[in-house]
Amino acid sequence: MTERRIGVYVCNCGTNIANVVDCDAVAEAAQSLPGVAVSRSYKYMCSNPGQEMIVQDIREEGLDRVVVAACSPRMHEPTFRRAAEMAGLNPYLVQMANIREQCSWVHDPGETATDKAKDLVRAAVYRAACHEPLERMAVEMCPDTLVIGGGIAGMSAALELADAGNRVYLVERTASLGGNVARVDLTAPYLDSARDMIVDRVTRVVEHPNVDVLLESELERLDGFVGNFKATLVRRSSGEAPPRQVVDVGSVVVCTGYKEFDAARVTHFGYGKLPDVITSFEFEQMLKQGRIELKDGRLPQYVAIVHCVGSRSEEFHGYCSRVCCMTALKYAHEVKSALPKAYVSDVYVDMHAFGKGCEDFYRRSAEVKTLFLMYGKGERPVVRRADPGDDCEMLLTVDEQLSGELIELPADLIILMVGMEPRDDAGQVAHLVNISQDKDGWFIESHPKLDPVATTTDGVYIAGACQSPKDIPDSVAQARAAAARILGKISRGKLEIDAMYAEVDEDLCSGCRVCNEICPYSAIEFDEEKRRSHVISALCKACGACVATCPSAAIKARHFTDAQIFAEITGVLA
C-alpha cells in the first residue's frame, strides 16, 4: 500500500467540544499517526471557512483521505462529503469521528474525555486508510406515486402530485374517502364545516384524471427501491380470489391515519355502562344529526367534557393527542349555541391551545361561560349515577387542582375526549413499506425536526396522523410537503442511490447458499448455472447481514468492509 496522505480535522464546535476535549491535543496526537499528512483543530469545521480549509488542503496538500472529528456523522457527514467532492476527492474517502454527541456532550471535561477522542480519531484514521472510492448508482425515477390512505392527508398529497401532472394511485381500505375528518361536524378553532372541506377534496380526487382511486383496497406487497417500486395492490371486497394489480411507482406516501382510543378501556367513567357517557366521536355523530340529546330523548342541562381520555396517562398513552383540547372547546361552543341554557364543564388536565387561533378560541370559550375544571395528571375522575333528589343524571367526582377541593360535578351528558392511537395494523404497514415505529407505534420520520416527512427508507414518506397525533392543518401541510419532496425527485428524472451495498466476489463464493435466506430484501440471487450467489445492488439496503454471515468472506459490504472495521477495532484499542 502506498503511503496515504490523510487530513485530520478536529472541530471545536465553538465550545461544545473544546470545553470538554482538548482539541489541540487531539489534533497533535493525530499528527503522528501513520499516513497523516495534515492535522488541524478549528473552531467550526462545518462552517464555510472550515469546509474551505478541507477543500484547500485536498488541493494543495494532495490529501487522499479526510477524517473529520466533530459531531455525529448522522449530522454532518453529508456536509463533509460534499466538501471533499468539491475538491475532487471521492466523497466516500471521508470518515468522521463522533467526538461531540458521543464524547464531549456525555463526559466531564478532562484527560479521560480527551483520551477517548484520541482513540476515536485514531480509529477513524486507521479506517480511512482502508477506504475505497465508491461510485453512486444512477437509476430512473418513476413519476407515479402510491398514496396509502384516503383521509385528508392522503387526498391532499394525491391532489398536489396529480395537479403537477403525475399519476397517483390512491389506495383506501374502506368504501369511501375522507377518513376520520369525514366523521367530524365542525372544526376548531374557526368552526368551519368539516363536511365542506371533505366534500370538495373527495370530488376533486375522484374526478381527477391523474388519480386512480382504489377503494376497499390495500397494499399487499412492496418490492423494489426508491424510484422503482413495484406495489401489489389487492381489492379486498370481492370474495375469494381478490383481484390483484401490480403497479410501478417511484414513491410511496403513507397516510394511514389513526384510530380513536377505545373508551371502554377506561372503567372509571362508566363508558358502556352509563347511557349518557359517550365518546367525542359519538358526540360528533350527534352534532352531525343536529340534535344534542340524552339517550331518553331529553335535552341535557349539564354537559361535562372530559379531556385526555387515554392520553397523557401512564396507564395508556403517555403522549398528548393534540387535537382533543380544541375539539372539546368546540363542543363547548356547539353545546352553548344549540342549548343556551345548558351548563358546560370542561374537565381537563392541562389546556393545550398552541395552534393558530387556538388561544383566542380558548378565551372565547371562557367567555361563553364554560366551567373549566382541572384534574391532576394520573388522577381519575369517577362518574356515578346521581341520587334521586338531584337535578342531574350523573355526578363526576374530581379532585380539582385549582381550588384544591374534591368536588362533585353535576352532569347529564358526559363526553369523553378519546385520544388518538396508531391503527392496529400500523405494524404490518410499517413492515410492508419498511419504515419504523416509535415506542407508541407511530411511524418514525427521518429527522424529527429537519426531515419530518421522509422516513429511513428512501422513497417512502409519511404524512398525517400516522406519524403522530396531528390536526387537519398539520396533516395537510405534511402531506403537501411530502408531495413537494416527491415532485422534486420527479423533476430531476434520475436518482442517485447510495454507493453502499453488498457485492459478492464470485471467485470466492462457493455457492453454499447460506446467505440466500439471510437477505430481508431478497436482494441475493443464486445463479444455478454458475452455482454462485450474487447481490442485486439496487435492491440491497446495505445492512451487511450477509457479509457477516458469509463463511467464505466472499461478500463485501461497500464502505463497511471487514478490513475497515478491523482497522477501527485496532484503532480504538491501540
Binding site: 455525529s72 447481514a545 457477516a548 480504538v572
Partner: protein
Amino acid sequence: MSFEPKIVSFLCNWCSYSGADLAGTSRVHYKPNVRVIRVMCSARVDPTFVVKALAEGADGVLVCGCHPGDCHYSEGNYKTMRRMPLLKRMLADFGIEEERVRLEWVSASEGTRFADIVDDMTERLRALGPSRVKTALAYDAVER
C-alpha cells in the same frame, strides 16, 4: 489508580447509534470507557469482530441493535439474537467471562438507556478486572 475497562461497542446506525447520539444531545452523562464503532445493522457484527476486539485488548464488547421487531432492516437484529448466545458459549470455552460480551437492544429514543447500559457494564467490568486475553497472548509469544 483503579482499573478502567475499555469497552468496544458496535452500534447499529438506525437505533442504537442514534440512541447514543440522543444521549449526547440530551447531555445524559455516562462513563467514558466505551468506544463506539458504527455499523449499519447489528447483523453486520461478525463474531470475528467481537473476538478480534477481545484479542486486541478490549475488556468488554457491547453490541446494540434495534429492539426485536423494530429493526430498520426488518429482521437484522434477529440474526444478531441468534449469533450472540452461541458466541457467548464459545467464548466461555476460551475462558472469557460471560459479562465481557453483552447484547442489548437500544432504540433511537433510548439515550438514557444507552447511558445506563454503559455505566452498568463499566461497573461490572471494573469489578471483574481486566481481560487476560491480550496479556496472555503477548506472554505466549515470548514464554513457552
